[in-house]
Symmetry: C2
Subunit: 209 residues, 2 copies
DNA sequence: CACCTATTTGAACGGTGTCAAGATAATCTT
DNA sequence: AAGATTATCTTGACACCGTTCAAATAGGTG
């Protein structure tokens, strides 16, 4: 779309063969190896087996590469959330299933998750963040309406969805903190701890009636 | 304590005069000027008017400097929270007053706030994070018990406090997102938006009775 | 074939974190 | 008070980083 309209099948356009894709994969590999702060564009190029200047024909900037990585991450996250939302929801309710999947995704790909939100913070840089968020967001909103049994106003559903999103994001970033360790063992495990917190987070009716 | 036991009054020990303090101040200045990603140790030294190698006699690493900056930030945050917790709480309840102060602190010092949690994530690097968190954390817990009118178990109060902390942290990081803009104007302002979200976040009784 | 365009390389520039050695100034010992 | 000691700061250097630009290379087109 942007540059060469990469041929969709067996993409091996010129010298290397879909370097753009290879760079994205290399970036994710290096990312989870050395963490978000230690990642260098040169290391990504090294991992992909090309010269340090090669990436500049596929991404105008290091930032643009990171942006693409973040976008990929959001796509994967939404897949995981959709899977959790459509699974059978007998044990917990759907809302806390989604929240659990969210936190577990962040725990499984911590560096990628960090890059995702480092990108998302720069609004101008993510013009179509709406598109990505909306899918996850609407799932949460639907689950909230379902949990409230229809007796919730549109704006309250929206606020509750934002609250849930914020809380789960915070939990994703802080679930590893040392202060929570004793409580986790006390409750019998990581998952039980997360469910416990989520039970408090995802309340659907505001106080003050 | 660590090095020279800096004389408490008129601290101008050797050549420059309490360079450690000057470096911390310079770091905060540069931080809020160029953002957390763009901050360089050399720029901090430049701002303080010393050579690039000078900081290495007061901090073993760039990381150690950032850690000290983060610690300072947590101290300031706790001051702000304590002020909000002890103020008259007629308009909103104490819980949402604290949450509001938290988010506003993060909005006023965005780069410092980022450094704070970048440090806090590395648990090994913040051995006494407990000390700092506990003050803010116990305030939240007390406010939760107050809001629940005493009919809340210890573990539920703990979980609710964690939930509130996570949610407010998430809100602090995402309150600037573009998706929330229309809702903000619809609700009549930033503060009203924040109160609205916090009303959903800080519920004190979990579902499933 | 020659031509053109996209891709990749190589070398270079300024900036960065960090360290070793030397210079400088405050403190300690006598 | 004078010399020895120690802490502080500067200078210079190294490797690495992001980025650019001219040259080299290779696929597509006539």
């Amino acid at each position: 779309m942007t540059t060469t309209e990469t041929p969709l099948v067996d993409a091996k356009p010129y010298h290397h063969g879909d370097l753009r894709r290879a760079l994205l994969d290399a970036a994710e590999t290096v990312l989870e190896r050395v963490g978000p702060g230690g990642l260098s564009l040169r290391a990504v190029a090294r991992e992909a087996g090309v010269s340090p200047a090669a990436p500049y024909h596929h991404f105008k900037d290091k930032d643009e590469l990171m942006l693409a990585v973040g976008k990929m991450g959001f796509t994967k996250l939404n897949v995981a959330l959709a899977a959790a939302a459509t699974a059978r929801s007998d044990l917990g309710d759907r809302l806390s299933d989604i929240g659990l999947a969210y936190v577990e995704f962040a725990q499984d790909h911590p560096a990628t998750y960090r890059v995702m939100y480092d990108c998302a913070r720069r609004v101008d840089a993510m013009p179509d963040a709406d598109e990505h968020d909306k899918t996850g967001f609407s799932m949460v909103k639907d689950a909230i309406r379902e949990a409230a049994g229809g007796e919730i106003s549109e704006v309250d559903a929206h606020l509750a969805a934002i609250a849930a999103w914020c809380a789960v994001h915070g939990l994703a970033e802080m679930s590893g903190f040392a202060e929570f360790k004793t409580l986790k063992t006390e409750l019998g495990g990581e998952k039980e701890f997360l469910r416990g917190v989520l039970r408090h987070v995802m309340f659907t009716r505001p106080r003050h009636h």
